[in-house]
C-alpha cells in the first residue's frame, strides 16, 4: 500500500497533473458559482476529453472539477443567498447574514479555508481507512436510509429560526412537491395534471434556484438597494485572519469534516445533507446557539468543511464498490468504465497507483482551492459589489433561467422555477423559510423509498413488516440521534430559563 501511495503521489505531482488540477479547479469554481450550471453536467461534457488521456489524468481532471464546484456553491450562497449546489444550503444560513453585515469577503475567505481543511482531512481519512469506511456504505440498508431521512427532517426543528410549526409546514410542502412524478417503487404517475413532462418530477436544482434566487431577485428589484455591500475603505480581509477565525474552534472544523466524510459515504443522501447535519451539530455545541442564523462565522465553517469532506466520502463507494455516491460520482464511474477500469477492491490491488493517485489528487485539488478560491472569491465578491442593481438583477435572472432550462433542456422547468420562486417570495412574508422546503424536497423521496422497501423486506422476513425498521442497532443509533435533534433545543431552553431564574433568586 505504501508503495502504491508513493507512486500515486509521484504520478500526480507532475507538471501535467498539476496543470490539469489548475484547469479543473478554475473550471469547477465557475461551474459551481453560477446557479444552474451543475457539476454533473460539466463532468459529462468533459468525459469525451478524457478519452485521449491516460485514466489517472482523466480522473484527476474530473475530480478537480468536482471538488471545486462543490466549493463554488458557497459563493452564491454567501453573496446572493442561493446555494449554487444543494450541498451549500447550510452555507446560506449564516453566510448571507454575514454578507449583509458587510462581512462578505471574510465569509468567502473562511468558506475557502474551511473547504480546504475539510477536503484535506477527509482525503487523509479515506486513504487511512478506505475499507472500514466501505463497510458503512454496505451496512446501510433501506431502513437506515429511512432513519437518515427522518434525522434530516428533524433538523427542521433546529433550523427553524421562527416557529416550529411553520418549519414543519415548509418541510411538508417540500415533501409533497417531491412526490410529483413517477413513484420510485410502483411506477405509478403522481400529480402530473396531464403533463407528461412532469413524469420526471421537480428537479432539485430547479427548485433550489426558485426557492432561493428568485425571492432574492424580487426583493432586490423591489427595494433597489443592495443587501451585500462591502466597505473596502479599510482594505481587504487578510487570508491570515480567515485562517485564525476558522481554526479558532478546531473542534468545529474536525467534527464537521468527520460528519461530512461519514455522511458523504452513504450513497444517494450524502452530499446534500452533510452540510446541514454539521451545521446543526455546530449550533448545538455552541455556547450561544441563538447567534446562528444571524451571521455566526462558525456556521459557515461547519457547512463548508463538511460539504467538501463529503466529496472525498462519496468517492469511497465509487472506488471500492463501483457505487456512485452522488450524480457527479456517477459520471466519474462512467468515465472509469470507458477506460476499461473496474472499481472494486481489486482496483486497489491491481491499479493501486491509479486508486491512490486519484484520492490524493482530491487532496491536492482541495489545496488548490486556497489559491483559486482566494483570487476568484475576491474577484467575484468585488464584481457583485461593483455592479449596480439594475444590471445585477437581470444578469442573475438570465443565469437562473438558463440554468433551469439547461438541466433537462425543458422550458417547463423554467416555469416551475419561476412558479416556485414567486411562491417562495410570497410565503416568506408569513415566515416560511426556503431551507425547510428544500430539505423536505431532498429527503421526502429518500424517506419514502426507504420506508416502502423496508416494508417489502420486512414482509419477507418478519411477520410484522414494520419490525424491519427496528431490527438493527444502526437504526436505533439513528433513532437516538433523531430524538436528540428534536429535544435538545428544548433542553437547552429549559436550562437557560433555570439559569435565569436561579440568578434572579440570588
Amino acid at each position: 500500500m505504501i508503495d502504491d501511495l508513493l507512486s500515486g503521489l509521484a504520478a500526480i505531482l507532475t507538471f501535467h497533473s498539476l496543470l490539469l488540477i489548475a484547469i479543473g479547479t478554475t473550471l469547477g469554481l465557475f461551474v459551481g458559482s453560477v446557479p444552474g450550471l451543475t457539476a454533473t453536467m460539466a463532468l459529462a461534457l468533459l468525459v469525451p476529453f478524457t478519452f485521449t488521456m491516460d485514466p489517472l489524468s482523466g480522473m484527476v481532471l474530473l475530480g478537480a472539477v468536482y471538488t471545486s464546484s462543490m466549493f463554488g456553491g458557497a459563493f452564491t450562497a454567501i453573496l446572493i443567498n442561493t446555494p449554487g449546489t444543494p450541498g451549500a444550503i447550510a452555507t446560506t444560513l449564516d453566510g448571507y447574514p454575514m454578507a449583509k453585515n458587510g462581512q462578505a469577503e471574510l465569509a468567502i475567505l473562511v468558506a475557502t479555508v474551511a473547504s480546504v481543511v475539510g477536503g484535506v482531512i477527509a482525503v487523509i481519512a479515506v486513504i487511512a481507512m478506505a475499507s472500514p469506511l466501505t463497510d458503512i456504505a454496505i451496512r446501510f440498508g433501506p431502513a437506515q436510509y429511512f432513519w437518515v431521512a427522518v434525522l434530516g427532517l428533524s433538523l427542521i426543528a433546529a433550523l427553524s429560526t421562527g416557529s416550529l410549526f411553520k418549519g414543519l409546514l415548509g418541510g411538508g410542502l417540500g415533501m409533497l412537491v417531491g412526490t410529483i412524478g413517477i413513484s420510485p417503487l410502483g411506477g405509478e404517475s403522481r400529480f402530473l395534471f396531464g403533463y407528461s413532462q412532469l413524469q420526471g418530477g421537480v428537479q432539485l436544482l430547479v427548485a433550489l434556484i426558485g426557492l432561493f434566487a428568485i425571492p432574492e431577485l424580487i426583493r432586490l428589484a423591489v427595494s433597489a438597494t443592495k443587501s451585500v455591500d462591502v466597505d473596502y475603505s479599510r482594505g481587504s480581509e487578510s487570508l491570515l485572519r480567515a485562517f485564525s477565525v476558522t481554526l479558532r474552534r478546531p473542534w468545529n472544523v474536525l467534527r464537521s469534516s468527520i460528519i461530512g466524510l461519514v455522511i458523504g459515504i452513504i450513497p444517494g443522501a450524502g452530499n446534500n445533507v452533510a452540510g446541514l447535519v454539521a451545521y446543526n451539530e455546530a449550533k448545538r455545541a455552541d455556547a450561544d446557539p441563538s447567534s446562528f442564523g444571524k451571521g455566526n462565522v462558525q456556521g459557515v465553517v461547519a457547512s463548508e468543511s463538511s460539504n467538501n469532506a463529503a466529496v472525498a466520502g462519496s468517492v469511497v463507494p465509487l472506488l471500492t464498490l463501483g457505487v456512485p455516491g452522488s450524480p457527479p460520482a456517477a459520471v466519474m464511474l462512467g468515465a472509469l468504465m470507458l477506460h476499461g477500469i473496474r472499481p472494486g477492491s481489486a482496483l486497489f490491488a491491481e491499479s493501486g497507483t491509479l486508486a491512490y493517485g486519484f484520492i490524493l489528487s482530491l487532496g491536492v485539488s482541495a489545496l488548490a482551492l486556497l489559491l483559486v478560491g482566494v483570487l476568484g472569491g475576491r474577484l467575484i465578491c468585488r464584481a457583485i459589489c461593483a455592479v449596480p442593481v439594475t444590471y445585477l438583477v437581470p444578469g442573475i435572472a438570465f443565469m437562473s433561467i438558463l440554468g433551469a432550462y439547461s438541466m433537462r433542456n425543458s422550458i417547463i422547468d423554467v416555469f416551475i422555477m419561476i412558479g416556485i420562486g414567486i411562491f417562495a417570495y410570497l410565503v416568506r412574508h408569513i415566515g416560511l423559510q426556503p431551507a425547510p422546503i428544500a430539505l423536505g424536497l431532498i429527503l421526502g423521496p429518500i424517506a419514502e423509498q426507504g420506508f416502502s422497501m423496508s416494508m417489502l423486506m420486512g414482509g419477507a422476513v418478519h411477520n410484522v413488516p414494520i419490525y424491519a425498521l427496528f431490527d438493527n442497532w444502526m437504526s436505533w443509533a439513528l433513532i437516538a440521534m433523531v430524538f436528540m435533534t428534536l429535544f435538545w433545543p428544548m433542553v437547552q431552553e429549559a436550562r437557560r430559563k433555570k439559569d435565569v431564574t436561579s440568578e434572579g433568586s440570588e
Binding site: 454533473t40 453536467m41 463532468l43 459529462a44 468525459v47 469525451p48 478519452f51 456504505a137 454496505i138 451496512r139 446501510f140 440498508g141 433501506p142 412524478g181 413517477i182 420510485p184 417503487l185 410502483g186 411506477g187 405509478e188 404517475s189 402530473l192 407528461s196 413532462q197 413524469q199 420526471g200 418530477g201 450513497p267 444517494g268 463507494p317 464498490l321 463501483g322 457505487v323 456512485p324 450524480p327 460520482a329 456517477a330 459520471v331 466519474m332 464511474l333 462512467g334 468504465m337 470507458l338 476499461g340 473496474r342 472499481p343 472494486g344 477492491s345 481489486a346 438541466m407 433537462r408 433542456n409 425543458s410 423509498q449 422497501m453 417489502l456 423486506m457 414482509g459 419477507a460 422476513v461
Partner: protein, 319 residues
C-alpha cells in the same frame, strides 16, 4: 412599420423556412447540420456511456456535429415523448431501452405510444443474470428455487424499478418455476450492489454489465439467454436448468416516425460501423453486442410486445 406588415413579413419568412425544412430531407447531403442525440437518462448511466463512446466516431463518419442532449425523467419517458414530437428528418434521435419503450405505454400514460417511435438500430443487449453473494448458502439455482418453495415469499430478489427488465425476468422465473419471491425494486442499478453485499437482499436479478463489473463479490447462478455466453464461462442458462426464462435489456437508437429512408440508411450504417468497431470493448464492459437494423429491430419490438402484454397482464399492471 405597422404591425400587420410585420406580421405578414414574418409569415412569409416562416413559409420560406417551412419550405426549406420540408426540402431538407430530400437533399442527398444528409446530414448537413447538427445532429441531436437525445439521452433520456441521467449522465453516467448506460445510455450515457455508450453515447459518449459513439459521439466522436459519429462526427467523423457522418461528417456533422453530434450533440448529446439530456432530457431525463420518468424512466426515459420524458425524452421519448420529446423525440416523438420532433421533425422526422433524421436530425434528432435518442438512445432507447427495451422493455421501457414497450412496457411504459402499456402500464401508464407515458406521453408516447410504442408505435409513435421508430426504432432505427439496436446496438447491444444486457442479458439478465441472477446473482448471489459469494458466501451465499445458495450454490445453485436449484438451491434458491427450493428455498423459495419451502417458504414462499421469504427469498428477496432486488433489481431496478417495476416493469423493468430486471423485474420482468424475475416474474418470468416465478412463472417458470412456479415459486413466489419478494421483489424489491431499487431506484437505480447503483444501490443494488451494496444492498446485496450488505445482505439486505438474498439475490439480485441484474444486468450482465453489473454482474461482470462485480464478479469478484457476486456468484452468477443462471443467465437468461438462449445459450451460454462467453462473458460468464460455465454459468448455465435458465433454460438448461429447465426454466424457460429469456430476458435482456436492449439498447439502440430511435427517432420519430416518418424519417426519409435515405437518411435512416445514413444513420444506421454509421451506427453499425461504429458498433462493429467497438464490439470487443463493449463485451469487456459486459454488453452483448447485437447488430439489428430497422427490420430486425421492429421484429424484436413486435415479439416482445406480445410477451410483455401477457406478463404485465398477469401482474395486473396493464393500464
Amino acid at each position: 412599420m405597422s404591425p400587420t406588415v410585420l406580421k405578414s413579413k414574418s409569415f412569409a419568412l416562416g413559409a420560406i423556412g417551412a419550405m426549406l425544412l420540408m426540402s431538407t430531407p430530400a437533399l442527398a447531403d444528409f446530414p448537413s447540420g447538427t445532429i441531436t442525440y437525445v439521452n433520456p437518462f441521467s449522465p453516467g448511466g448506460e445510455c450515457d456511456i455508450v453515447q459518449r463512446m459513439q459521439q466522436n466516431p459519429m462526427r467523423e463518419k457522418m461528417g456533422a456535429d453530434v450533440v448529446i442532449e439530456y432530457r431525463e425523467g420518468g424512466g426515459g419517458a420524458v425524452g421519448w415523448s420529446h423525440v416523438k414530437e420532433q421533425p422526422a428528418n433524421g436530425y434528432t434521435f435518442a438512445c432507447f431501452s427495451i422493455p421501457h419503450i414497450i412496457a411504459q405505454p402499456m402500464t401508464r400514460d407515458a406521453g408516447y405510444e410504442t408505435d409513435e417511435l421508430h426504432v432505427l438500430y439496436t446496438y447491444h443487449s444486457t442479458p439478465q443474470v441472477l446473482v448471489v453473494r459469494n458466501d451465499s448458502p445458495y450454490e445453485t439455482l436449484e438451491d434458491l428455487v427450493e428455498a423459495a418453495r419451502a417458504a414462499p415469499g421469504s427469498i428477496t430478489v432486488g433489481g431496478t424499478g417495476t416493469a423493468s427488465g430486471n423485474h420482468l425476468a424475475t416474474v418470468r422465473l416465478m412463472r417458470a418455476a412456479d415459486i413466489t419471491v419478494t421483489w424489491i425494486p431499487f431506484p437505480g442499478s447503483g444501490p443494488t450492489i451494496p444492498a446485496l453485499q450488505g445482505g439486505h437482499v438474498t439475490a439480485l436479478m441484474t444486468n450482465s454489465t453489473m454482474a461482470v463489473q462485480n464478479s469478484e463479490h457476486f456468484r452468477p447462478l443462471a443467465v437468461a439467454t438462449e445459450e451460454q455466453i462467453d462473458m460468464f464461462p460455465g454459468v448455465p442458462t435458465f433454460r438448461e436448468l429447465g426454466y424457460d426464462v429469456v430476458e435482456a435489456i436492449y439498447r439502440g437508437a430511435l427517432g420519430p416516425v416518418g424519417i426519409p429512408e435515405e437518411n435512416i440508411e445514413v444513420i444506421v450504417s454509421a451506427l453499425d460501423e461504429i458498433n462493429r468497431e467497438q464490439a470487443e470493448r463493449k463485451q469487456e464492459m459486459g454488453f452483448q453486442p447485437v447488430f439489428y437494423g430497422p427490420e430486425e429491430s421492429a421484429e424484436l419490438v413486435e415479439r416482445l410486445k406480445v410477451e410483455y402484454e401477457e406478463l404485465l397482464g398477469e401482474l395486473g399492471m396493464l393500464k
